[in-house]
Symmetry: C2
Subunit: 311 residues, 2 copies
């Protein structure tokens, strides 16, 4: 049985999937802060899953985690919202879990999961709309890893030199328009769900909120165009925290795509409206993708001595 | 021996390459206008190559041609600067040439050729700067074809909503900033080499030319960023008519990339300056790429009855 973990900034989602890719069991834990606590969270999540009814022998573990990930070695760098600067994650947990462990960037893992849930054929980009914005591209079942770790970093493509400042130092980046972190910072009002507050305030006519909300649709639509015009993926599947807004966000994005289709026969020919989809909420896509990544043939073998009971 | 043709708007470049990929012979002909004349040009070019010293038996022919190409069937559509609306090119010439014929979009064929000339390893984007702007992406020896024929169409990504109108109906497209056709149209003065005239006039201080020249560097730099941030290719190789300007263009592009690297640690980390290269002039990249495409296994077989002597 394959186990996959999506280690997020606050929660870790873990699933066990069978050979047909069905989710047999899932658990959800709070993610610890810092390298040692992240290791503990991983061990606890796998241990908890192993104790769930229906979970047979675990044969592999895959971990999706934010930050820069060297998937060959299982090393994680700069996972700032986990308090992790450098962590040999695979090497740290594999000996205690007693099974092969593979680590992948969380967006790339989610792309693999979304591709499986999407029918596992053709080509697809998964566009993650969270604190930041990034995409994972999968074609013919293969994750596009790129040469130096920036494949899918569409969030830092500038689409307006007069747009808002981005944390990366540029102006008008897609992420500056539509990233949850950047937009919340510009909104700068109290509230635990700032993006939802912005949409509510925009509905009520607040001009700042109207502007921020329009910018989000613009940024997401721009990312969709970039992905289709560069990689020509069949479909762009949207996921991540910001997509909890569901149709409220999708309606705006559809309107933005319709406006460019109305202005341009070329854009119209792309049929972007038919190619954009929302990942169903509660789909466990990231954890499922991590489980699939974990089960891939590991060329750089990691030490798998020890057993789960050591955890 | 593999033959490759690059059918351009005015000239057709044809090469014969041996099994090691070396150019054994090359010929250059004026391209005829319209479907029948294009067919004649292809037959003449192959016949002329076959008569060159050192050219042994021809085993395959590949044709790179502008417009929409269905590489499976060898059909060409909307090759407007050849006067071709629809043409079953492979089916029309294969019976007369007596060898398998494969047709590919000219930019994609050039990408395959540039990849071979670039050492045939890792990943690379070929960015064609001609009348229009488009790219071809090759990774691990495979041309990225995409799902619906728009892979590499980075020319129609808008990078400034207040930028110049593009022929596609959008504003501020990369092609509107840097495409030879769009820039010449805005310059709108007599002269057979308008882009060179613009650079000369900019050197002399003409403010319109200075503006157009700056826009070109901006557009090319934006295309490079899009290709690296989306596909994360190792290298972006620039080719096409506009690159005849050589270092005059490259200097401006390098300065534009240096400015964004100075403003952004993230952009600096991409080392774009080290990843952009100019295709050597006279390299026959497009024709070589067409020859390599022509030699690929043809799954949808075309009729190859008849012989070259029928041509």
């Amino acid at each position: 049985m394959k186990v996959g973990l999506d280690v997020g900034g606050t929660k870790t989602d873990a699933v066990a999937i069978d050979d047909e890719g069905r989710v047999v069991a899932s658990v959800r834990l709070a993610t610890g802060w810092g390298a040692d606590a992240v290791i503990r969270t991983v061990i606890e999540a796998v241990t908890a899953l192993a104790a769930e009814p229906g979970v047979a022998a675990i044969t592999s573990v895959g971990i999706g985690i934010p930050g820069q990930v060297d998937s060959a070695s299982g090393r994680v760098s700069h996972a700032v919202n986990l308090g992790v600067d450098e962590l040999e994650l695979a090497a740290s947990v594999a000996p205690r879990l007693g099974v092969p462990v593979r680590v992948e960037n969380d967006v790339k893992a989610a792309a693999v999961g979304a591709y499986a849930l999407h029918g596992a054929q053709g080509s697809m980009a998964y566009l993650n709309l969270g604190t930041g914005i990034a995409a994972g591209i999968v074609a013919d079942g293969e994750l596009w890893r790129g040469s130096r770790g920036t494949a899918g970093e569409v969030g830092h493509i500038s689409v307006d030199p007069n747009g808002p400042a981005c944390r990366c130092g540029q102006y008008g980046c897609i992420e500056a328009f539509a990233g949850g972190g950047a937009v919340s910072k510009r909104w700068n009002r109290p509230g635990s769900l700032p993006i939802r507050d912005i949409f509510d305030a925009a509905d009520a006519g607040d001009p700042i909120a109207v502007d921020l909300r329009a910018g989000m649709a613009r940024g997401v639509a721009a990312a969709v165009r970039v992905l289709v015009l560069t990689a020509d993926v069949d479909a762009v599947v949207l996921g991540g925290g910001v997509t909890a807004l569901g149709e409220r966000l999708m309606g705006d994005v559809a309107a933005e795509l319709a406006a460019s289709a109305a202005a341009s026969a070329f854009m119209r020919s792309l049929r972007l409206d038919e190619r954009v989809e929302l990942l169903p909420s509660g789909s466990h896509a990231a954890a499922i993708g991590a489980a699939l990544v974990g089960a891939m043939v590991v060329t750089d073998t990691v030490d798998t001595e020890g057993a789960l009971t050591h955890g």
